[in-house]
């Protein structure tokens, strides 16, 4: 009898979960789309050397760890990018952003994002550098922002 009741309970719970799942699935897809937009904005900012646009992706107290060094806060991170290759006026780098270079997850108002930057020198037509990064993102005031970035080896293959 108890097993029967438990079975019935699980069945009802499964039904309820399935009913809710369709709603949460839509929300999750919407959030994933917005997280995906971070990568798009990133490369747009890098290709156009738009530092403000790049910094619009970061949370106020974000951290970035690259090459064993951690940069904390938007000012430090802005300094990091100001010195980086893509933002130098003499470099004509465009970032190749195909879909295979990105991987994102979402869990409520938190998520993870990994993507790679394959910079092509438009003058020579060659890949100058390829870097990747693991990021933690969070929905703050309705916007998805990077809260933590850790540089990673480029791994994704076309």
């Amino acid at each position: 009898m108890a097993a029967t009741l438990v079975g019935l309970g699980v069945l009802i719970a499964g039904y309820s979960a399935w009913g809710k799942d369709s709603n949460t699935s839509d929300q999750k897809l919407a959030n994933l789309y917005k997280i995906d937009q971070i990568e798009k904005t990133w490369h747009k900012a890098a290709s156009r050397k738009n530092l403000n646009l790049m910094m619009s992706l970061w949370a106020p107290k974000a951290t970035a760890t690259i090459g064993g060094k951690t940069y904390t806060g938007k000012t430090a991170i802005r300094g990091l990018f100001a010195k980086s290759g893509p933002f130098q006026p003499q470099n004509h780098w465009e970032s190749d952003t195909p879909a295979y270079k990105i991987r994102a997850t979402v869990n409520g108002s938190k998520g993870t994002l990994y993507f790679e930057c394959h910079y092509v020198d438009v003058d020579t037509g060659k890949v100058v550098t390829a870097v990747g990064a693991d990021q933690e993102v969070r929905k703050i005031n309705g916007r998805w922002l990077i809260t933590n970035l850790t540089a990673a080896t480029v791994t994704l293959k076309p």
Binding site: A3, T4, V6, G7, L8, V10, L11, G14, Y15, A17, W18, D21, T65, I66, G67, G68, L80, K83, S84, G85, P86, Q88, Q90, N91, W93, T112, Y119, V128, T129, A130, V131, D134, T150, A151, A152, T153, V154, T155
Partner: protein, 536 residues
Amino acid sequence: MTESAVAPRQAADADKRRLLSRADNPLVRAVGRLPVKVRTKLLVGFLSIAALLVLVALLGLRVLGQSNLRAEHLGALQVRVAGYQQLEADAAALRQELAICAGNADYATWLNGGRRSAAGALGPACLRKIQQPVESVLALLGTATQLGFKPTASESGQVRQIKSDYGRIKVLVPRIARSSRASSALHARAEQLSVDLEVAARGLAETTTAKTKALIAENQHSYSSSRNLFVAVAAGAVALALALGLLLSWSLIGPLQRIGRRLAAIASGDFTRHVEVANRDELGALGANVNRMNDELDRLYRELETASRHKSEFLANMSHELRTPLNAIMGFSQVLREKLFGDLNEKQEEYIGDILSSSDHLLALINDILDLSKVEAGQVELEIAPFSVREALERGTVMVKERALRNGVALGLMIDPSVGIVAADERRVRQVVFNLLSNAVKFTPAGGSVEVRSAQVNGEIQVSVADTGPGIAPEDHERIFEEFQQTQVGVEQREGTGLGLALSKRLVELHGGRIWVESTPGVGSTFTFTLPVEAG
């Protein structure tokens, strides 16, 4: 509409009504005609309903069993999903730890404003620092690989790959810790392995999650199907049980109602029809027996009627024949007592007196029998005519006045002014009044009283004769109105024939009235009869 068109329509309506009528429903009749006992029919009906209930219960158990199996499967899948997600999380943590010191030439170029660094790769010192955190993550990864469940055949290959990558990373980490600038390649390899590990774990987690979702979807679909099937079967079972119950009950109640109506008709003296019960069970037998009883009662009733009529005719004839010689006896006895043919000695006078007294008694008896027989034979026809109740009652009291005086009984008459003329047979009414008065005077002891009252009550003339006699026991109140029945006092006094009250009752009822007695033993009695103002 022509008559030819109306007739088929009426026939169709009649058929429809017959189908909807409980007792005339062909199905009900068919059940009734089944040649088995009612007990068997009820047993089959109950067993069928029980079988339906068992069927519904079995179906429910089957549905719940399947649901339980799916729930167990779902639980196992969720355990696997959790295991693989943990594996993925650990691999991601490992990759992050390794990435902290990611310092290949590309990063150096990126950080250095796009210029190739002469130092080449970054962070050999960093690489030496990461051994501790990487080993702690590897320890977690090692825990996560103790999955606690057996991977499926399709997952086994990936799980083996994860274990292999895990082992290789474990070998590489100490080498990286001891690294110099030349070990950047080892670091990159370890990082690549950690990515492979993460990808493989994610693949497993996603595949298992997809299976979980598919199972939940299947559960939902299966639940809907099972629910619909269960509801349909349950509804069908209830409908069938109801139909079966109604069919059985109608096949029993219909015949019982018909038999009940027929018995009521028989009780009211109608033997003209038979009850129609098509059942071939106990009710059919009951119906047949009721019909037999009806026929037998009809036969007996007719015989009784004939016998009663013959008896009354006989008594009427005999009474008439007896009165003729009695008149001669009484006449000649009176002549002798009057000494028209010479003197009589003392003894002869005494005997003549006895003859006359006995003749009077015999004549009264014969007259009463004659009247009663005529009433029973239906030979009495009332001669309805208007007359004064007051006068009739006064004459009645006059007739018993002498005997009342002789017995020392006071006689009173009280007539309400509302009592006037009534249409009835005056002679028969006076006969009733005389019977009641003579009984009252006869049984009231000296010093007592007899009072006649009359009033109009509820449209009827009510006449009552009250005495202060010995009274009548309650158990005799009905019996004294039957032929030859007397009270104990009457029997002891050896007066009367026991026919007077019976005759009075018949005569009153012939007028459409009623007669009854109210009495308290030792106090007295009051006999009352009513007459409709318009009798007959």
